[in-house]
Assembly symmetry: C2
Homo-oligomer: 346 residues x 2
């Protein structure tokens, strides 16, 4: 049988890392993985940077959004594209300055719905004072695309990009908000269970007002930052540590998660730690300032912020580059992103 | 009946301009249409620019590619995404420096075909020494997307971006290559006529080696530049002139087009002037240097280059902002992009 692309290849977990390595990383020589004294594919992050003068970098990020359904409790695909793009910039320590998008819709898509999606997306940019500098709009014949796909491109500026390579033994791991809210809401929508699960809503929101100021204030103590979307916090933590001579140790009961979200996902056999959030941040920070940063995040509005673990020397060779979770009853298990078949979630 | 998105809304002609205006331009206040001493939505061009130091701009462009079929005579969607992105930068007078992409494939897509598409795309960048700095890869469930969609994002650098607003009365209009080659090849593929139309091949190619050096050498005499993809040269010329107090007058028999392409399209009732090319340029240039620029383009490899018309004072109020074509028999007609139902052509 011929080899074909599988859903898991795009799920943000191990299979994704493998196909991205095979298709892209292994084919581009190191000197072409970055540009103009910047960084790019050479660092495992969500964006790229170009040094544009003595002290500043322009930072770029891109993501495609294909959520199904496009309208869901707590938002729509327009908000998702806007917030997701801004948050990728914030997680690189950059102030967002400009936004571009490409939209592909299916012929027959309701104009009223398209208007609402675009208004939601542009509304975020206008409120954030981010320029909208270009884009592309295409229509595909009925049946050739399921409703709508949006690609967001973000441009930000920073004098010190966070490229997630500074993570080191001793760092504390901090999570700002209750996890898995977005994924749970989408799953409830896909299963037609919105009425029974009224408390499940996407957490899609920009991190520009709450997290960016704290990142800027404490920049030199922040060694990695990521919004744990596809693949959840399990994917983020594993991506950070997989090539390091270190282990991440997490106390699972410290990870903020709402009881409704946890029980809903567990009833369906879905791993909350691999489930997407769209409005939270995970940080790896200097232990010396960890408490202070957590308090500052709580003050700025991220009231669920918790320190959930730390980076340690690998206890064994096997645990090098791995994430270990201490369970509620004191046992230890590997925390790995599950390639759950939850397609089109963000 | 509820208002729904139509195929014509994405065809690159009048309906496209209207929906883009309604959805985007009219909703973003002027001060947020550009950024950092740059330009963006405020100019009707294919990209945006950000001034990054005393003399240089970084230029950005994005486009989605959805061609059907993804493999066609003369290329595949990977080449199209790579060349299309580079050419948009070249047409802004910029040297391409970095590339990002997002790929969305349908579950079940052949890995062998995906490998070939990605190899084609990355191969272009490696040969052009353009850095590949990031991207996104997603898989949609079978039936929710027709095969593959690629978004290309290009970053270029220039000290003098061409933003197509400098076009003025007196300018000569130059076209580098035979037009409509790409659209004709795709149409032949879609109609299952590849065997009968062996000479029809996409012209997809980068303009970095042939056109960019000429643009750089003669920059101050070049007032507008565009690769006439979706909507063909009719769309390009109309977009340039629609808001100007001027008229473009074209001699139709001067426009380079191969006889096989012309007769194939005309037999199907398709307007060649509204049909996409993927490897040619249209320029508006100072009349003083027009011949010299044309000769230089021919020397650099664009052997079909022709001066095909000029920008004139509007002969009547009605013709203000319009494109007029002098036909082969001396009559005059309006040259307008036709919203031909040729979906998924680039």
């Amino acid at each position: 049988m011929e080899d074909r692309v599988k859903l898991e290849d795009g799920a943000g977990a191990k299979e994704s890392w493998k196909i991205i390595d095979e298709l892209f990383l292994s084919r581009v020589p190191p000197e072409l993985q970055k540009t103009l004294e910047g960084f790019g594919l050479d660092v495992l992050d969500d964006g790229a940077g170009v040094k544009v003068n003595d002290k500043e970098y322009l930072v770029f990020t891109t993501d495609s959004f294909t959520v199904n359904p496009p309208f869901f409790p707590g938002g729509n695909i327009g908000y998702l594209a806007a917030h997701g793009t801004l948050n990728d910039l914030v997680m690189m320590g950059a102030k967002p300055v400009a936004f571009m998008d490409t939209i592909i819709v299916e012929e027959g898509f309701l104009r009223k719905e398209l208007n609402e999606i675009v208004s939601s997306m542009l509304g975020v940019m206008l409120r954030e004072r981010v320029s909208v500098v270009g884009g592309d709009f295409k229509v595909m014949p009925k049946g050739s695309i399921d409703r709508i796909v949006i690609t967001g491109i973000g441009i930000g500026i920073t004098d010190s990009p966070i490229i997630d390579e500074e993570i080191r033994v001793g760092d504390k791991i901090l999570v700002t908000g209750p996890i898995a809210e977005h994924g749970a809401a989408i799953l409830a929508s896909q299963l037609g269970m919105i009425k029974e699960t009224k408390s499940l809503r996407s957490d899609t929101k920009p991190l520009t007002k709450t997290v960016l100021p704290v990142i800027q204030k404490f920049r030199k103590y922040i060694h990695a930052a990521r919004d744990p979307t596809r693949g959840g916090i399990a994917a983020t933590l594993n991506e950070w540590i997989m090539k390091k001579n270190a282990t991440i140790l997490i106390k699972r009961q410290e990870i903020p998660i709402r009881e409704e979200v946890k029980s809903f996902l567990e009833a369906l056999g879905v791993d909350p730690y691999s489930t997407a959030s769209e409005g939270i941040a995970v940080l790896a920070i200097d232990p010396e300032k960890a408490e202070e940063i957590a308090e500052e995040l709580i003050r700025s509005g991220e009231s669920s912020t918790k320190i959930v673990g730390e980076v340690i020397t690998p206890p064994t060779e096997f645990l090098k580059g791995k994430v270990v979770a201490e369970t509620e009853v004191g046992g230890k298990i590997l925390l790995e992103p599950k390639s759950v078949n939850l397609p089109r979630i963000c």
